[in-house]
Symmetry: C2
Subunit: 142 residues, 2 copies
Amino acid sequence: MPDLHPGLLMSIAARHVEMRVMRALHEAGHELTLAQGRLMAGIDGEGTRLTDLAARAQITKQSAGFLVDQVERLGYVERVPDPTDARARLVRLAPRGREAQREARHVERQVRHEWEQHLGQERMAALQDALTSLREITDPWA
Amino acid sequence: MPDLHPGLLMSIAARHVEMRVMRALHEAGHELTLAQGRLMAGIDGEGTRLTDLAARAQITKQSAGFLVDQVERLGYVERVPDPTDARARLVRLAPRGREAQREARHVERQVRHEWEQHLGQERMAALQDALTSLREITDPWA
DNA sequence: CCATTATGGTCAGTCTGTCTGACTAGGTTG
DNA sequence: CAACCTAGTCAGACAGACTGACCATAATGG
């Protein structure tokens, strides 16, 4: 059996994480889709502009606006005026959104722990190191 | 700067590979979409059943059928009867499909090489090792 | 040996997420 | 202050995914 391409192996594992997070959110009563989740993952504490959210998720601002409309209607985020720019508004997590975020982070920690159990500390550290380094040449956004 | 979650880092790198492959295919005159490419990646030498393709790409057989229709019309694959089961047909790469496959594999080798240059042989081997091991607990299809 | 169930695939209809292009309102700058 | 830039929306299109219903063929167990 020849080595599968690392990119493919990464897709498998990354997909697994997403699936675990989405499933947990669903079980906790949240009705978020993957696209909505990816978008919300880009919101930081003080709130984030639509344009920045779009860039982080690598989608157009139209798509981002569409998704923000949805999660706003569901009560996960709110749009507040940006005090520093009258054109802009900040998308901020509402209480329900922070709940979902907590849940997501919990599952992520759990997965990380499972991986460390499986690989052992040393290999896990090597993985984290290699991935972090690889980001320098693969992240279009950094 | 705290460590980003390995799953997220994997998404970034995996996406980079896909982007590189799609761009190269496009430059070589192939008009394949990402979804079509992912589907075709699941076709093996003797041909593969629609149902298996769907399972490998983790989509429904209806979606897979839709995509096969498209790439068949574009001349990348052909459907031939399955000699062992009259209900089934095998989806097989046509010459144009094999060309695209060669191109894709070429880019994948190139990316692998770039990564090895960046990480060094040892860290690259560690990465491959960790990812392969991780597959045991993250691949729903193995 | 046939009735039942399982499997491979299609048809019909729907929905989500994405895009491009055109536009408005509000900043920024020479 | 004129010209340009930037944040966001509106309108329209389309790809790709889903569910549910269905048909044809295989496989299985009384």
